[in-house]
Symmetry: C2
Subunit: 624 residues, 2 copies
Amino acid sequence: MQTRELRVTFQPSGRSVFVLPGTLLLEATGRAGVALQAPCGGRGTCGKCQVRILDGQCPPSAADQRVLSVEQIQQGYRLACQSYIDEPMTVEIPAESRLDAAQQILTTHAGRDTVLNPVVSKRFFHLTAPTSQNAVSDVARLKVAIGDIAVPFHLLVKLSGFLRGHNWQGTAVVAGDRLIGLEAGDTSQDAYGVALDLGTTTVVGTLFDLVTGEEKAVSSSINPQVGFGDDVISRISRVRENRTGLNDLQQAALKAANSIVHDLGAQAGVDARHIYETVIAGNSTMQQLLCGLDPSALGEVPFVQTFDDGLTIPAQALGLAVNPGGEVFIFPQIGGFVGGDTVASMLAVGLEATEEPTLLVDIGTNGEIVLAHEGKLYATSAAAGPAFEGARIVQGMRATAGAIEKVLIGENVLLNVIGNTQPVGICGTAIIDAVAELLRTGIVDKTGRLLPASEAPAGLPEWLRTRLVTMDGQTHFLLVPAEEAGSGDAIYLWQKDVRELQLATGAIRAGINILLRRVGLEPDDLGSILLAGAFGNFIRRSNARRIGLLPQIPCARIHFIGNAAALGAKLALLSADERVRAERLRRRTEHVDLSLDREFQMEFGMAMMFPEADVDACMEAPAD
Amino acid sequence: MQTRELRVTFQPSGRSVFVLPGTLLLEATGRAGVALQAPCGGRGTCGKCQVRILDGQCPPSAADQRVLSVEQIQQGYRLACQSYIDEPMTVEIPAESRLDAAQQILTTHAGRDTVLNPVVSKRFFHLTAPTSQNAVSDVARLKVAIGDIAVPFHLLVKLSGFLRGHNWQGTAVVAGDRLIGLEAGDTSQDAYGVALDLGTTTVVGTLFDLVTGEEKAVSSSINPQVGFGDDVISRISRVRENRTGLNDLQQAALKAANSIVHDLGAQAGVDARHIYETVIAGNSTMQQLLCGLDPSALGEVPFVQTFDDGLTIPAQALGLAVNPGGEVFIFPQIGGFVGGDTVASMLAVGLEATEEPTLLVDIGTNGEIVLAHEGKLYATSAAAGPAFEGARIVQGMRATAGAIEKVLIGENVLLNVIGNTQPVGICGTAIIDAVAELLRTGIVDKTGRLLPASEAPAGLPEWLRTRLVTMDGQTHFLLVPAEEAGSGDAIYLWQKDVRELQLATGAIRAGINILLRRVGLEPDDLGSILLAGAFGNFIRRSNARRIGLLPQIPCARIHFIGNAAALGAKLALLSADERVRAERLRRRTEHVDLSLDREFQMEFGMAMMFPEADVDACMEAPAD
C-alpha cells in the first residue's frame, strides 16, 4: 500500500515536489532545485530564507514571530528553515531569498561572497589607426586598449590582417592574462560558459551567461560509458583489458559532453562558438577518462591518479565542440578515488571556513567523506559497492519509474513508488527505510538477521508477522504481494539484501569513524553532517542514522546540500577566485587511505553491526 | 695595383686574417672572430687582453711595460689593445683572455657577468614507484624530483604510461617552468641550442652545447629570399603584391634555417632532436617573414611592426626541424626598421650600462643607430639605400671575390681585391676609401663633384691627373685600367657613384646628428662609437670619418664590435637572464622616427656635404 505524499508547488518556477508530511520547507525547496540562503545554518536567526505561503496552512513558528513583522506574517511570509509541511501547498520563493540572489553576488555562504569574475572576459576595442606620431607595434596598440595580455602565436599571425581588415575594431576574448580570440564587431555581450557535472551514470551540463552570471539552460544525459560497465571499476578494467578501451571511453564521454553542449546552445539560442569556458567536475576516473588520461593505476593498489592540480586544457585539444580558442578547466583531485567532484562540493559549501567540525559525505558506489576540523581537511573514499544503487540487491533497481523509493511501517506497510505506478523493484533509499523499520519493529536484529516468524518479538502485530517468509533456512520480508506488483511477482526484502546493505553501510561508517578518530573527535562533536550528491538527497536522515550509516547526532545537524559538485563547478566557472580557492582546498586536504589504517578491518566489522537502538529517534518529531 | 696585406695567424684556432700594416692586434683578433676581454675599453690599463706573440716582431708598448712582468714580456706576452701589426705574425690567444673565457662565465663586459643559465635544462630522474604509504599522483611524484614545473596537456597524456613503461626513470626537458619533453634513459647531457643570425642576405647559425656553453659548429647560407629581391623593401613589396608572397618568403627563410640546423647537427654529430632552443635575431622584416607575420605595414608610412616584446614560439608551430617540443625565441623589436638584430647588438655590448655617451651604429641598407646617454636609449633607422652593398653603383658589386674592397692613393693607386684575383667591380668599403682619398687629394670637392683634370689642384701628380676622365660633361676617376680588369673593361668611380654615396652617408649621418641633438650632445662628447655588423667591420674608420659618415672623433674611440647581433643571440640562448635583459633594453629604448624631425631635411642636406677636412686625420698614426 502506498502512502500519499503532499504536493508542494513553488512559484515563480511552477515546479512541484512530493514530500512526506512533516518535511521541512527548506528541504522541500532544495528538492525542487532551489537553494535558499541560510547563513545561520537553519537556526531561524538570520531571516534570509523567507518564503511566502500562497496556498495552504502553515502556522507561524516562534522564529517567524521573532524575525518577521506582524504584517509580513499576515502576508504569508515564513522562514523556510522553521516551517513544516502538513498539507499540500503553493509557495512563492522571493528572488532575494535564493542562494544565487544578486547577479553580481553569486553566493553568500560560509561567510564569503563570490563576485562574478569569470576567467574569460570579452573586451570591445576601437583603436586609432597608426600615425607617424603613434607608430607603436600592432600588439602594443592592442594592449593599450585591452590591457597587458599575452598574445599567443596563432593569434599574432592573424592580428595585423584582422586590425586592418576590420577598421581597427573588434572584440578581444581574454582568458586570465592571455588572448584566446579575436572577433569582428562588438560581441562583448556574447560570452557563455558551461559547468559540467560528469557523473559515472549521468552527465549534467548547465549553460551560464558569463556577462550576467545568469543560468540559461540545463541539459543532461546518461553517461554513454555505462555501455562499458556500470561503475568506475568496470570502466577501468575495460581500459586495462582492451587496447582501444581508453579511446572508446574517452570518446563516449566526449560524445555526451558535446551533445549536451549542443543541446544547451539550442535551448538558449546561443551559438556554441560563444562558449569559451567549460568547467568539469567528476570523480577521478571520470575526469581522467574524459581527458584521455589512462586510469589503469586507479585500478590497482595503491590507486594512483595521474594529476592533482586542476588542469586548464585547450577545448580543441580535448575535442570539445565550443569556441576553438576556448578552454576547459578540470577540477583538482585529492587522491585515489577522491576526485574533482569532491573538491567541487567542498568549494560549494565553503568547507575550509567552517567553524565547527563538519563532515561532508557523498554516498555512492564510492562514498567520499571529508572532515573539516580546526582549519584542517581530511578526505577519504570508502568502497560501498553498488547496493545503494540497487545493484546486488535481489529485486533491486535504480531509482527510476516503478522503483519503491520509500518504506514506512505503521499500521500497514506504506510504500512510495517513483512515477505513481505499480512497484517492480526496490531502490537504495527504500532498502535503508525497510531495514530501519524492521530494526525498529525488532524483526531484524543487530547482527542483521531477519528473524523467522517464530522468533519475532512477541508483541508484533499478526499482519506483520505473516510477512516473514522463511525459505531455504533464511527469512525474508514480503514488501509487495504478487497481486500488487507490476510484474505479478511478489517483492521481498531478502536476507541477502540486508547483508549487502551491511557491507555498504559498514564501509562508509568505518570511513567516518576513522576520520573522526584521526582528529580525536566523537560523533557528537560534529556541528553538522552535509549530505551531498543525488543519493544523499533522497535518503531519510533518521533511517540512515538508525542503520548506523550516519552517526547518532540530531537530524537538525544533518543537512542535505543537493548537487554541491554542480554548484562548485558553477562557482569555478563564474569566478577565477573560486578556482584559486579550489586549488587551495586541494592542497590543504590530506588524503587518508583507509586500507592503511591498522584498525580498518575492526572498524569495518563493527560498523556492519546495526546500532542497538536509535538513541534519540524522537528528538526531532516532524523532519523525516 | 694591389697592396700587400699582412697575414696574422692565431693559435690555437689556426685561423688567419689579412690586415693592413699598422692595424691594432685587438682589432685583428676581432676580425678572426675572437673577442678579447677589454673592460678598460682598450686603454691598456686592465691587462685582460693579453696575447702571446709566437712568431714575428712586436715591440713592447709602454702599457706592456707597466702592466706585464719582464718575464712575461720576454715570453712574448703583449696587450692586444696596445700592439700594432707591422709584419706577418703568429699569435697565441690564451683562453683566459677570451671574452667567453670561463665556461660558466660567458662574457664579462659592460661590467656584468653572464652565467650559463639557459632557458632549457634537462633533468634525469629516477622515482620510487608508488606504495600505499606514498600514493601521490604521477604529476606530484615527478615534481618532487624535478621541481614544481607545469606539465602541458599533451605530455600529461603520456606521463603515466611513460613512467610505468620506463621503470619510473627518464629525463625531463624543462623550459623555464614548463615541461617540454620526456625522454627515456639519461639524456641529460644531450642538450643543444642554435643561435640564428637571420640577415637579409646571409643566415648564420651557431650550435651551442647548453650543458657546457661550448660552441659546437657554425653554418651559414645565403638567405634564399634574395630570389625575391635584394633588400627588405623588395621583399615587403612581394608580400603586398603577390597572394602567395608571404608564404613563399616564410618558406624560403625556414628552408634556410632548417638546412643550417641540419648542417650544424651533421658537423657536430648532434641529433636535431636534441636541439631544444633556437634564438633568432634579425631585422624587423626578416623576423616577421620567418614567423609568417605579414610585414605589409612595414612597407608604408608610418612603418608599423606587428610585435615588440620578444616571442616564444613552439618550434613545431613555426616548422623548425628540431625537437618537437622545442621552442624558438624571436628577439624583441624596437620599432619601424629597428629590429631584433639591433636589440641583440645592444645586449651584446651592454649598452644599458655604458658610463659615457655611446653610439652603436650598424651600417647597411638600413642603418640602425642607437645612442645611450645617462641611462636612456634612443634608436632610429636611416634609409641609406643599397650603395654600401655596391648596388646602384655603376660598377658596384657585393663584397665577394673580384670586388675591390680597399683603395689607397699614395705613390700609386693601391687596391685590395677580395680573393686575390683580377678586379671586376667595386664594393662599399672601397667606394668610401676612394672618395675619402679623392677628397684628400682635392679631386672631389665638398659638394661631391669630381673635378675635371683642368680644375684639379695644381700640385696633383700627373699620373693621378690622367686618371680623371671627362665624359658627357661629368668627370669620373679611373680605378683600374682595362688591361688590369677581370672583365677587360676599365673600372671607374663614376660621378654618379659619389652622388649615391652622398645620399647613403647623408642619411646615416643625419640620423646620428638628430639623436645627438635630441640629448644635447656634440659629437666630441661621445665616449665611443661602436661599429656593428658585417659592413661596419670592414670599413676604414678614418675614411668613414673623412667622408662624414662618422663624426669627427679620434679613431681610438671608434670600435669594431664584429657581429654583435650574433653574440647577442648567443647570450640569449645561453642565459635566461640575458633574455630578460633584452626585453628590458627594448622597453627602455625610445624609437625616434627621423621623418618626424622638423629639421631632418636640413640635417640630411647638410650631412650630404663632405667635411672640409678630416680635422684630426693624423691624430692616430697606425690604426687604419
